[in-house]
């Protein structure tokens, strides 16, 4: 049996006396699309920050493809095949769209800190960058400074940067937040495409998006996972309904 893509064992995180994550156990097998839902302040983004290395857990263990990555810095975790997006758009605002994606491609193609070779002559970098831009439908906007893109375009670029390195595990933090219905539908189609053959974990508030995309859903309430099951079962779960979905659902 192959190791799970992500495995969290009794993970805790406190800020001072405030316990935000209170013993999370979560296993996501490779290739699964896993959604994390829960009310505001439940600790969903904190959980992502712990998995991606932005924060270090107070206690507990995080494994990536069977390897212990607890406490590693984000770039080490990224190099091990995990990439994430952010709830608040986190791009390189004064670089062009092209440069944004190209920067995200470089490490995975092995160019690291190379200062002895020109970047424009690297065919594999160019091809991958063009491919990603086509994927997120920004190829015509590649010369534009990223900071002046529309909100929906910036969200698409955010996803583009996240998938550019070809990571096997993708974490998306509210990819459809703030989008119109049409934009959200496009985002779902994009996520479905790019998560093909990868492990996806996403935080999402839009239940249509969640039930549309997820193979499995975990519900996080007050720093603990109160349920983790297939979407149909989550819909029926009484504890979930009272805690989050509301009785009407």
């Amino acid at each position: 049996m192959t190791a799970a893509a992500i495995k969290l064992a009794d993970v805790h995180k406190s800020f001072g006396a405030t316990r935000i994550i209170r013993g999370v156990n979560l296993t996501v097998p490779a290739g699964q699309r896993h959604a994390i839902i829960g009310p505001n302040g439940a600790g969903k983004s904190t959980l992502f920050n712990l998995i991606s290395g932005r924060l270090t857990p107070t206690s507990g263990k995080i494994e990536l493809n069977g390897e212990d990555v607890t406490g590693l810095p984000p770039y080490q975790i990224n190099r091990r095949g995990l990439s994430r997006s952010f709830q608040v758009t986190n791009i390189f605002p004064r670089l062009s769209v092209w440069e944004n994606v190209r920067c995200a491609v470089l490490w995975s193609l092995g160019y690291r800190y190379a200062f002895w070779r020109g970047i424009d002559g690297l065919a594999d970098v160019r091809v991958r960058t063009e491919h990603i831009l086509a994927e997120i439908d920004l190829i015509d906007r590649r010369r534009v400074q990223a900071g002046v893109l529309t909100y929906a375009e910036q969200r698409a670029l955010e996803i583009g940067i996240t998938i550019a390195g070809g990571a096997g595990i993708i974490l998306l933090d509210e990819p459809s937040a703030g989008m119109s219905v049409a934009e959200a539908a496009r985002a779902v189609a994009l996520i479905r495409r790019v998560s093909q053959g990868r492990t996806l974990i996403m935080i999402e508030h839009d239940m249509d998006v969640v039930f549309d995309l997820a193979d499995r859903i975990s519900v996080l309430v007050y720093g603990q996972i109160i349920a983790s099951d297939v979407p149909a079962a989550i819909k029926q779960d009484r504890a979930v309904q009272t805690a989050y979905l509301g009785t009407a659902a």
Binding site: S52, G53, R54, P73, P74, Y75, N78, R79, S83, R84, N90, I91, F92, P93, R94, L95, S96, W98, E99, R102, C103, A104, L106, W107, S108, Y111, R112, Y113, A114, F115, W116, R117, G118, I119, D120, G121, L122, V125, R126, E130, R142, R143, Q145, I161, T162, A164, G165
Partner: protein
């Protein structure tokens, strides 16, 4: 910002055109460098005087120094207050190496000596960079200031290496001769500096266009995001810092050759401030910015200090004016017009030039009034014993009479008033021109 647009434009041209485009792109890219090399060659023929050669030599050194500084500030977003450390130490390494070569009759010619400076700058860039680049932003700036003070004060204590107050001198003519050149005459030193300057410029320009160079920009823009695409921002900063030290060391080595003397001033805060001013006034957002800044600052330093004792005051005013009114520097002001140029809106550009000329008149009146106040005030407070009159703009002014002060006040007040009147004209023409250029851009 216009830098971004320009660069990605070339990227697009390349990726769309395929291999023949790459070949054309090579000549397109090489042309400015060939033109620059030719310019370096012919400049002494146009300005053959001794003072011009000296100034152009200083400009060449400053160009390398300011560009090395911009690897930090402009490319990687690191504000250093102690960059002269690597310039000065490069100079000391070079001067000691030259003396060693002379003393032992080693077969090493002068032109390779800046390599020793590069080594010295790199070495201390690595040592001090390992400490200071762990932090970014304000903390980095403060550490750079502290390290600058540390080295500057060491320079007066470690006399064996720094030569105390008088510094370390050498004789550039005593090294192995190549092609019959002994580098005694300034013209030979000028060409040596010009060659190194061109080489260093090319290297730093090429460095921008590497995976590392692009990640410097990424770290400048958003160091956190860079971590989530696999890069360690500390490593990027450390490498940028070390390489900036290397190029500053080359500039210091060239200075050692030029002056045949290096003293503690070379590592001091004033030198660190000068390179910051040069890069900033020229503009840190464009490669050409620090080059413009280096040329202008050197020219001002030499020319203004001949004209007035308070040249540093004007220098300070210029810096304040740039920070307030042209935060992207002179290069930024020039590049602002790129959309017009690209839209081939020559009619608009002509109208704009005319508007600038009209607004320039009151601006010059205002400036003249300011200069009168500064010079007369300086004379009264410091040089009153030399008599009440000064000579300014080919006029003899009596600083103790009311008339010149009144005239200055009228110039300042009137200039300011007229400038306020004419500026909306410039603004209007500018927006009009820009709107047209963008309209034309959309139509095509």
């Amino acid at each position: 910002m216009s830098d971004v647009a320009g660069e990605t434009a070339s990227v697009q041209a390349r990726s769309d055109a395929g291999s023949p485009g790459v070949a054309a792109g090579f000549f397109g890219q090489a042309a400015p460098w060939i033109a620059l090399a030719l310019l370096f060659v012919v400049l002494p023929l146009i300005f053959p005087s001794g003072s011009a050669l000296t100034m152009m030599s200083l400009m060449g050194i400053m160009i390398v120094f300011a560009l090395s500084y911009n690897m930090l500030l402009g490319e990687t977003g690191m504000l250093s207050f102690g960059h002269a450390v690597y310039y000065g130490l490069g100079g000391f390494f070079t001067v000691h190496a030259m003396n060693t070569v002379i003393h032992n009759h080693l077969p090493v010619p002068l032109p390779v000596m800046p390599l020793v400076g590069a080594f010295g700058g790199l070495l201390f860039g690595i040592i001090f960079g390992a400490v200071s680049t762990r932090r970014a932003g304000t903390a980095f700036a403060m550490i750079s200031l502290g390290l600058g003070e540390l080295v500057a004060s060491s320079s007066l204590i470690l006399r064996g290496f720094f030569g105390g107050e008088e510094g370390v001198s050498t004789n550039r003519t005593k090294l192995l001769r190549v092609f019959g050149l002994n580098f005694g005459p300034q013209i030979e030193v000028y060409y040596l500096i010009a060659a190194w300057c061109l080489l260093a410029m090319l290297a730093m320009y090429a460095l921008k266009r590497t995976p590392f160079g692009r990640m410097c920009n990424a770290v400048r823009e958003n160091a956190e995001r860079a971590q989530f695409v696999g890069y360690n921002p500390t490593m990027v900063r450390f490498m940028a810092f070390s390489l900036a030290g290397l190029f500053a060391g080359i500039a210091g080595g060239l200075a050692a050759i030029n002056f045949e003397l290096v003293n503690s001033a070379a590592v001091g805060a004033e030198q660190s401030g000068l390179v910051l001013l040069a890069a900033y006034i020229g503009g840190v957002g464009n490669f050409i910015g620090p080059v413009i800044g280096a040329v202008l600052v050197t020219w001002l330093e030499v020319m203004l200090s001949d004209l007035t004792d308070v040249w540093q005051l004007y220098f300070g005013l210029l810096f304040v004016a740039v920070v307030m009114f042209a935060p992207n520097g002179i290069a930024g002001l020039v590049m602002r017009h790129e959309p017009l140029w690209q839209a081939r809106a020559y009619g608009s550009m002509l109208r704009l030039a005319l508007a600038y000329l009209i607004a320039l008149v009151p601006a010059l009146l205002l400036l003249a009034g300011l200069i009168m106040v500064i010079e007369m005030g300086y004379h009264l407070s410091v040089k009153a014993s030399e008599g009440p009159t000064i000579s300014l703009f080919h006029l003899t002014l009596n600083t103790t009479s009311a008339l010149p002060w009144l005239a200055a006040a009228v110039l300042i007040g009137g200039g300011f008033f007229l400038f306020r009147l004419t500026w909306p004209l410039v603004d209007g023409v500018w927006h009009n021109a820009l709107a047209r250029a963008q309209g034309a851009g959309k139509a095509t």
